[in-house]
Symmetry: C2
Subunit: 697 residues, 2 copies
Amino acid sequence: MYRRIMKKLFAAATFAAILTVPAPADEGMWLFNRPPNAVLKSKYGFEATHDWLEHVQQSSIRFNNGGSGEFVSADGLVMTNHHVGTDCMQKLGSSGRDYLTTGFAARNRDEEPKCVDLELNVLMQIEDVTDRVNAAVTPQMDTGAAEKARRAITNTIEKESLDKTGLRSDVVALYNGGEYDLYRYKKYTDVRLVFAPEKDIAFFGGDPDNFEYPRYDLDICFFRVYENNQPARIKHYLKWSQQGAKDGELIFVSGHPGRTDRLDTVRHLESLRDQTFPYVLNVLRRREVLLRNYSERSAENGRRAHEDLFGIQNSRKAILGMLAGLQDPSIISKKAADEQALRAAVSKDAKLAHPYGDAWDQVARSVRTSEEIYRDYSLLEGAQAFDTTLFGYARTLVRLADETVKPNAERLREYSEGGLESLKMELFSAAPIYDDLETIKLADSLSLLVEGLGANNEIVRKILAGSSPRRRAAALVEGCTLKDVNARKQIAEGGRKGIDASQDPMIQLAKLVDPDARRLRKIRDEQVREVQRQAYAKIAKARFAVFGTGLYPDATFTLRLAFGVIKGFQEGTEQLPWTTTLGGAYKHSEDHQNQPPFALPKSWFEHRNDINPSTPMNFVNTADIIGGNSGSPVINKDAELVGIIFDGNLESLVLDYIYTEDQARAIAVHSSGILEALRKIYRADTLVNELTHGAAL
Amino acid sequence: MYRRIMKKLFAAATFAAILTVPAPADEGMWLFNRPPNAVLKSKYGFEATHDWLEHVQQSSIRFNNGGSGEFVSADGLVMTNHHVGTDCMQKLGSSGRDYLTTGFAARNRDEEPKCVDLELNVLMQIEDVTDRVNAAVTPQMDTGAAEKARRAITNTIEKESLDKTGLRSDVVALYNGGEYDLYRYKKYTDVRLVFAPEKDIAFFGGDPDNFEYPRYDLDICFFRVYENNQPARIKHYLKWSQQGAKDGELIFVSGHPGRTDRLDTVRHLESLRDQTFPYVLNVLRRREVLLRNYSERSAENGRRAHEDLFGIQNSRKAILGMLAGLQDPSIISKKAADEQALRAAVSKDAKLAHPYGDAWDQVARSVRTSEEIYRDYSLLEGAQAFDTTLFGYARTLVRLADETVKPNAERLREYSEGGLESLKMELFSAAPIYDDLETIKLADSLSLLVEGLGANNEIVRKILAGSSPRRRAAALVEGCTLKDVNARKQIAEGGRKGIDASQDPMIQLAKLVDPDARRLRKIRDEQVREVQRQAYAKIAKARFAVFGTGLYPDATFTLRLAFGVIKGFQEGTEQLPWTTTLGGAYKHSEDHQNQPPFALPKSWFEHRNDINPSTPMNFVNTADIIGGNSGSPVINKDAELVGIIFDGNLESLVLDYIYTEDQARAIAVHSSGILEALRKIYRADTLVNELTHGAAL
């Protein structure tokens, strides 16, 4: 699924973003303030006007837990993927109520339950703040000073903007520091569940079919945003297309791709291949095995661990595909050739050679530093060694007390004043916590810590306090008071004194770990990230100079516009069609004896004769998307909704570092399939009316 | 399950075996020629007579695929665990015939299908050859010469014995070189399947319940050995007890524990904790995830991968428990204190200090060497990088050609003349091979190779030949001719010329890898294993001198006698009973909504009212067992069969390096539960008659 890959796992990876050369293909994750009109005009005779762009931009939604979505009615109705909404449904559920298995349909507004900690963002304004950031960071500064200055100006700009506009304000480093834009978002925090199908059809085919095509997934769900306890009135929403997506049609995807590494240097990619991806995969696999065993013990365990497990399996399959690409000598060779060409051009031109020529070596040095601290950083600052929500709460409380007494400009980014409200929303989440699940996760991760740093390591010995990982984890979880939201609020209100006075063992653990964790963070911020910012900015300028402008930056989980055409592809000797049908879902189930994860839900069998089996269900297109794009609308030239992205095929996983449209495809649910299922299987007439009329009737 | 942990995974681990001090507990995996009569007499007033021992010894069977079993009738009937027989059933199966899922019952002898490559061994004679081995290896030799001399005399002794007796003859290094015994086995290679229940009841509770108690598993199956196409006439077989196991009763277990590390030095154990176990677990988890994904794609995939997957999950859970123990500071502290006491005694006594005092440092050096080559060795000589049966065939063919032209004394151990027959039985196995499964396994392991040695490593580049792991694996499997038994035979008959002429890509791969693999093997044989042999022999002698005799050696997958009593144990606040019942199985299923892996088979529901629900099903006892003991008979003082070992609880996993009877328990199927199920559920009256009468009627 094209949800964002779990960010925590990449805590120590360095995410360079950098200019790319536009290819004469359907390539690009374009900025809304730099739309690809040149290519669109020449290739498709289309121009995205200012109004068109504004409408699409403000119809698009970022799900802060890692996905995308869109407004589909004037009454605050939001569509996204089921697997993006899963996090909310999981947290709403209890041992007696399993939204994921049974699905959900609110019969009226009073029945729409409120998500416990979901925040949606809509991008309202973009402001270029490059000059202001660059003025604060001077070439004379060493990297430590530069990092501090950059952080200070960023925190300050965000706070000023928040005070002035009341909008969530994020400074985004595009082209990895080639440009800084201030993004202002309207924020929705009262988000309620409206409709979700059963996960058996939303995630039909499960892990085996994930990232595959043909597919038959109804991977959708609906939320509604509220303001002042009333459905929000929405100006920009997407109209539902009468006809839906057609073969060969030009389409657009407006969403939030999470991360790409397209113009990482070869040395940088090799580090992903040789260290980051293998390490992360080992961690993912151990968590997958752990949670599968836990889940198999009972249906209730399965319910508790579902979202965690899905996220892990999804990331594992995605990263495995990415690693497979990097282990393909032909791909690295192509990357090396491209890099060689650019470096040759730079070294031939004195005007480029002096300012930019050393950038690749700078990146190499930073990557080496990153590799040296990678394991320790992941375990301690990335908190891989403390895989429990409770540790996350404890650390946030400890750092909140430490950071908020500092001036805003000096704070760690995530504790700056501009972001405090969103941070507290997560910290004071009422999401349920299950002691047994937290205990096995923590025990396993403490064991990972012992493996990583060694049993005789001083911090390890202090953390275990003479106990085994299993006993220590049990004691930490059992004694932890932070399961109670009020206890968290009380400690947070107590500030530094509250932390110092706390006898909570998890708080004490977080305090114990913090000096080492912060030390590693400082190395990474100053010697890895800051160095890469500067070096990649040089490479970016060199590319501009050599290849000209008209480029898009690597993905940053901010809004982008992609385009492409709807078309099938060749796999081996087989030509795969542009679309699948509702009828095909039944056949796919039968081909697998209707056994999980290929078992259609009961509702689909009950209404089998009611639906038109030739209705399109899923379809593929060439748009340039990646994890984070899950839930993005697929729209036609008239900005009508013709589908919703939910996945890419296996061949698309290399899009992390190289675009290709030979076989790589984005996969979407077809708008007609959605309507047909809502009408005939779920009898959700009120919802259908709201979709087709663009407003509740 | 107490099957032997997959031996290949430990290819690079160094398995020291060493004397232990007998504790005043039910401890010990005793040699049949050194029975624990002193303890038995003082603690239980029992003496194992020569006749009793001979009878039990010759009733016991080694399954060469990693388990134990026993004769239960004069007509060659053999009982073992279902999970020991799984390998045979898997290989007999096809897409139309799934012995594991449906179970199997031969109605008559003509219906007993012959296993494709199963060899059973019965220990007939033990001869002390210590003096002969020691005479061949002199103190003046360096470790390279010593290793060669030891290998030469071992190969020679085995060949002489085979020629003289016609029995399979293995020289076994006990007390890791403190003693060498020649074990002579009667070998059965015509082994046929008689009866097996459905795997849903044999492995009821699946991976979640594995290594847990209470349990409700009918983990049994029956084979029959044939000679000259007739059921073999068996003199020594175990009589079925009328009453079965009783609470508090003294019992014995006669089987083949695979490996223990009880008296490894602390440095050696730390190496298991810090390197071997974490590394092996990562490999196991990646294979588990791979095979689960493959299995979920279809029922047929699940059937093909079942045995592989079970073995992997079983090993993963066992090693996880072993690692958890080593990560417990209290266990390592106890080990360190014991070691300190022995070393102090040695250094105080000049007669011990000089010959033995340097042994611990010798071990430490060998462990360091082992750690240095560990990864490369595992990948290349351990063949973790080539996880396909086809590579195993290719390597065996290549080495067979290289080794068999050498004099017997100089050959690698596994190609010595004494063992050639068993080797060829494996090499020419008719077990089915599935291209798709072999391809994904090979692709994943080639990817592991790239991760381990690096993409730029010379041998890696040669192995991949410019391709990606996935494409290379597909080409290797597709082009490989060795799937056909006759092709293997033809190449083997061609000797060196056959190998040189072969265009088979897998043969060429094996040839390519062989120089590096052999180089690593040589380092391990000479600088790790030989050094440890010598060092641990010193430590053994020191222990004899300090603590006296009456010791048992670490496990070596040879026949051992354990003893103990039947009793429950305390877990947390709960007192777990000594036995479970057939009726309890239904309740356990209901507690899990009858969902897999807790779904009882149909047959059990059909005959629910026929059985007596209070019949004992599984029971626990304190006998000292470990992986490899699966299928071992549990017998009473009169050598009657009262149960069959199939597992140990989680608390027993530390038995690898420390015996405890507080909570550690062996788990067995009760003889009465077996009879009741055979009679009432399976209506296997002929089989029941043979069991109760000790012969076919």
